[in-house]
């Protein structure tokens, strides 16, 4: 590669020039880095940008800009393919610290030191693009979701391999009668045209469907998944859409609702099949069904069964009741419910059912007699009221996500992947905990789907798609619902969350678009969400690797496997570039072209540490660039002030922070270190799922190390920061500075 020629550009606009002596900053570049810097009063203006462009023409191949935050003016300061590094002299210096003060000046000078040190340690990343890439999309499941996914993929120009476990396409819709309303005026059940959907798939040349076919194992990575199929073949696909749907909750576990006691106690699925067949009759004696009771939440919303709400059961029962009444107008239909859940426009179906004479009773079913007498504890009348003379009792059983294949035995490994790693019912913080605080919370029993793995992923971390809880393979982002924790593999339909046909069809389109992005990015060597387009990827120096396996264990996305000698292997397109592996590695063997422990440590060390006689502490803040850094920027925009004794180093994620950075900081005389990042735990807000949790985990062990260095453990801390903390963080920082000042200076200072 050609020799690095770095250009350093300073901006004196937006108050920077009035607040700090820019000439001295130029001096830092000149004296300490032998670089002639250029200063402009409005660097982002046409003149300033032209100035930089001219230098690039003249051979500058790396640009360091000390101006505003890296979050703004990205378009003005974008000079691709030239690598641009940014130092913030505005939001986090001038706007947040006393003007023309020696401490502010020192802060600005260190910012220049850090960015120029960084410049010396990084290069523009070269993407990993070796080998062949497949743009074919594997769709697992031939139900409504899978069929839609296949069609949508084809419509986007992709070849599709569609797998269906059974011997026919169509899934549960084949055994279903009418559809729920999906179009205006949303008031009536709609025709079930599954045959039409299957026919459209059959007519689509880009789709090749395999019936009676499942996946026996999956290896590789986005753009290059190797999939072994039950028919013995091996296929290469670029991305995978898991549309394996749902299965009804096992009604045999619902004895308390009379299931099994009488053949005329059936599940909603069983009734649906009868409606589809056009013959609804008592199983016991074939007599017509004139009077029927629907029991809602049969197994759902029940800590002993499915803790979640299956969402569609209410509407489904209404639809079935309407179909019964349509066929036989004086049918008596009762719905026993706890909460009537017909959200959005589905409320119309509720009104339709009411108008049709369906009777709704809020309450719990106490008993179901062998004579089908259902005794309801009617909460609205306040009495136990028997429902007698019924011909059929229908249990609206819930939906279990097919996150596993129930026909297959559970694999030896990976059970923990299905158990879910957060507690969705963990109590939220209550002010002061005085008064009656919420009772102590025992971790909730989760619904864990049984059976074998769908994909049997040959990943170091196990064969399953990790579930968040209750069997739903979700990373539980509200903003990014399609993100699973296995890059390039997307779930759609009821396997993702309980949903009806229309929603599932829509969901399929969304998942397909993500899959298409995955194959595009893979072949370009570019990262997917959240660091979209990042071309860097972790490189491991195996010579130094101690085979400690921390990187393979800690990667939130299972991107790193192990070879025969248990050396780590990075599957670059599985990687989301959070750097958690880098933070995990005890011996600095993992680094990115533009991000490494060496880079961070060097930046940290480049700061001028005042001696103890100056009376000025130095405190390091390693701040997550997704939330903490924007929060500090906004603090600056609001002109909130904080101590000038701190030095902020942005990191991709707290997960990427190696303890080595911390020990380096303390060894060069920083008096304290703060890790500032997202909330870990049950309501985790880390964009990389586990990053901040890993950091906390590591930090919990650092105390001993500090003690061994004769340092107070309080010198190192982790602060939870949210992006909305613009007013809070300055206080947090100042409090920490005070605490450290109270503890006293770091004895290593000056050594």
């Amino acid at each position: 590669m050609t020799e690095r020629k770095t250009g350093i550009y300073l901006c004196s606009g937006c108050g920077i020039g009035e607040s700090v002596d820019v000439a001295l900053l130029e001096g830092v570049a000149k004296k300490e880095f032998k670089l002639d810097s250029r200063t402009h009063a409005c660097l982002c203006g046409d003149e300033g940008v032209a100035m930089i462009r001219a230098d690039i023409e003249a051979g500058v191949n790396q640009v360091a800009i000390a101006a505003c935050s890296a979050r703004v003016m990205t378009d003005r300061f974008g000079f691709e393919p030239i690598q641009v590094l940014r130092a913030d002299l505005r939001e986090k210096v001038t706007w947040s610290h006393a003007p023309n003060h020696e401490d502010t000046q020192a802060l600005a000078e260190d910012a220049v030191r850090m960015v120029l040190t960084q410049a010396g340690k990084v290069k523009a990343p070269e993407p990993y693009v070796e080998g062949e890439w497949s743009s074919r999309i594997l769709v697992m499941g031939g139900g409504v979701t899978g069929l839609e996914a296949a069609l949508q993929s084809a419509a986007l120009g992709h070849e599709v391999l569609l797998l269906e476990k059974s011997d026919r396409l169509g899934g549960r819709a084949l055994d279903a009668s009418k559809r729920l309303p999906y179009r205006p005026p949303y008031a009536q059940p709609e025709v079930n045209d599954i045959a039409g959907l299957v026919a459209r798939v059959g007519a689509e040349s880009k789709i090749s469907a395999r019936l009676g076919c499942t996946v026996t194992q999956t290896s590789g990575m986005p753009g290059r998944f190797m999939v072994n199929l039950s028919d013995g073949s091996v296929e290469t696909v670029g991305a995978i859409v898991v549309a394996t749907g749902w299965r009804p909750y096992d009604a045999s576990k619902l004895g308390h609702l009379g299931y099994g006691a009488s053949p005329d106690v059936v599940t909603g699925v069983e009734l649906e099949a009868m409606l589809k067949a056009g013959k609804v009759a008592r199983k016991s004696n074939g007599a017509p069904v004139k009077s029927v009771a629907f029991v809602q939440c049969a197994g759902s919303r029940d800590p002993d069964h499915l803790p979640y709400c299956s969402s569609v059961c209410c509407a489904s029962s209404l639809k079935q009741a309407l179909e019964l009444i349509e066929a036989e107008p004086d049918t008596n239909a009762y719905v026993v419910y706890q909460e009537m859940r017909t959200p959005g426009v589905m409320e119309e179906l509720y009104r339709t059912a009411q108008s049709a004479g369906v009777i709704f009773m809020k309450g719990k079913v106490k008993t179901v007699g062998a004579d089908l007498t259902v005794t309801v504890a009617d909460e609205l009348i306040g009495e136990d009221v028997p429902l007698a003379g019924l011909d059929m009792v229908v249990l609206a059983t819930g939906m279990v996500p097919n996150s596993t294949n129930p026909d297959q035995p559970a694999p030896e490994t990976g059970a923990e992947q299905l158990a879910g790693d957060v507690d969705p019912e963990a109590p939220f913080p209550v002010a002061g905990y005085c008064g009656d605080a919420p009772p102590a919370h025992a971790k909730r029993e989760q619904a864990v789907p049984e059976g074998g793995s769908l994909l049997n992923l040959q990943y170091r971390q196990g064969p399953h798609l990790p579930v968040l809880h209750d069997g739903f393979a979700d990373s539980h982002y509200i903003c990014f619902p399609y993100e699973t924790r296995r890059t390039g593999i997307y779930t759609a339909g009821p396997v993702r969350r309980p949903m009806d046909w229309a929603e599932a069809a829509e969901d399929a389109s969304g998942a397909v678009l993500k899959a298409v992005q995955a194959v595009r990015s893979a072949s370009a060597g570019a990262a997917l969400h959240p660091r979209v387009g990042d071309l860097s990827y972790p490189k491991i120096n195996l010579n130094q690797c101690t085979k400690c396996k921390r990187c393979t264990v800690e990667c939130p996305f299972g991107a790193i496997d192990e070879d025969e000698q248990t050396y780590p292997i990075v599957n670059s397109t599985r990687c989301r570039r959070c750097g958690t592996c880098m933070g995990a590695c005890p011996v600095r063997t993992i680094s990115f072209d533009n991000y490494s422990v060496d880079m961070l440590s060097s930046m940290i060390k480049s700061v001028k540490i005042p001696d103890e006689f100056s009376g000025k502490p130095r405190i390091l803040i390693m701040a997550c660039e997704n939330d903490a850094i924007p929060a500090l920027d906004m603090a600056g925009i609001k002109r909130n002030q904080w101590s000038a004794h701190v030095r902020v180093v942005p990191v991709r994620c707290l997960g990427s922070v190696s303890l080595l950075c911390i020990s380096d900081a303390l060894s060069v005389g920083y008096d304290g270190v703060m890790m500032m990042g997202c909330k870990p735990g049950d309501d985790y807000q880390c964009h990389f799922v586990k990053g901040s949790a890993m950091a906390a985990e590591r930090l919990s062990k650092v105390g001993e190390t500090l003690k061994s260095m004769m340092l107070e453990p309080e010198r190192v801390t982790q602060a939870e920061a949210s992006i909305a903390d613009a007013d809070r963080l300055p206080k947090v920082i100042d409090a920490f500075v005070e605490q450290i000042t109270a503890i006293g200076f770091n004895p290593f200072k000056g050594f």
């Binding site: 009411q354 009617d378 009348i381």
Partner: protein, 205 residues
């Protein structure tokens, strides 16, 4: 009026609900009640009702015919129509209560017949139908004495000051009752109306 099917209470049975849907003024919308409680919460004297309209409607669905038609909820409606204008499902609550009151009287429930409203209504209708106009003197008097001579006298005396005041301010006249000219015609119309109602019951909206 079509007979009500005898239905034991405390057992869900749609026949009473269906009967109400078909035969009671506004009953067709009753099916839309979602038990939100707005009606009972809107009622100025809801606290004096044994059930309140919301629960009464649920009892209708439960087939609790006797309990419904003997409920004092039917008699405590002050006709403020707050329930009607506020019902999120546009159920004409007050109208339904009014018509159920009629049903209760015609079904001969003692609780209904002996209610103040039924007694007052009897007196009121007598005047309205006979003279074409209500004569407040006669209606009140007839109403008082429907409780028997002694009670009627007692009530009359209790309200004498008001009566005298009304006479003094010329808001109550002495002499012949007010009447419209063509009462004969009115009698025919009302007789026919009663006849039609009996004949066509269950047909009105």
């Amino acid at each position: 009026m079509t007979a009500l099917s005898p239905t034991p209470s405390k057992k869900y049975d749609l026949s009473f609900a269906r009967w109400v849907y078909d035969n009671v003024d506004g009953g067709d919308r009753l099916a839309l009640c979602m038990q939100c409680g707005t009606c009972s919460g809107s009622c100025p004297i809801g606290t004096q009702m044994d059930h309140g309209p919301r629960k009464l409607f649920m009892m209708i669905r439960a087939g609790m015919k006797e309990a419904v038609l003997t409920s004092n909820t039917l008699w405590n409606c002050v006709s403020c129509y707050n329930c009607v204008v506020r019902c999120p499902r546009k159920v004409p609550v007050a109208y339904i209560l009014h018509d159920l009151a009629t049903v209760a009287v015609r079904e001969g429930y003692a609780e209904a017949r002996n209610s103040d409203n039924a007694r007052f209504a009897k007196a009121f209708w007598w005047s309205a139908a006979k003279y074409g106009r209500t004569d407040e003197r006669l209606v009140t008097g007839k109403y008082y004495f429907s409780f028997g001579m002694a009670e009627g006298y007692k009530r009359g005396m209790a309200n004498l000051p008001i009566a005298l005041g009304m006479i003094k301010t010329k808001r109550m006249h002495l002499g012949m009752p007010h009447a419209c000219k063509n009462t004969g015609e009115l009698h025919k119309v009302l007789a026919k109306a009663a006849e039609i109602e009996a004949r066509d019951h269950g047909k009105q909206g």
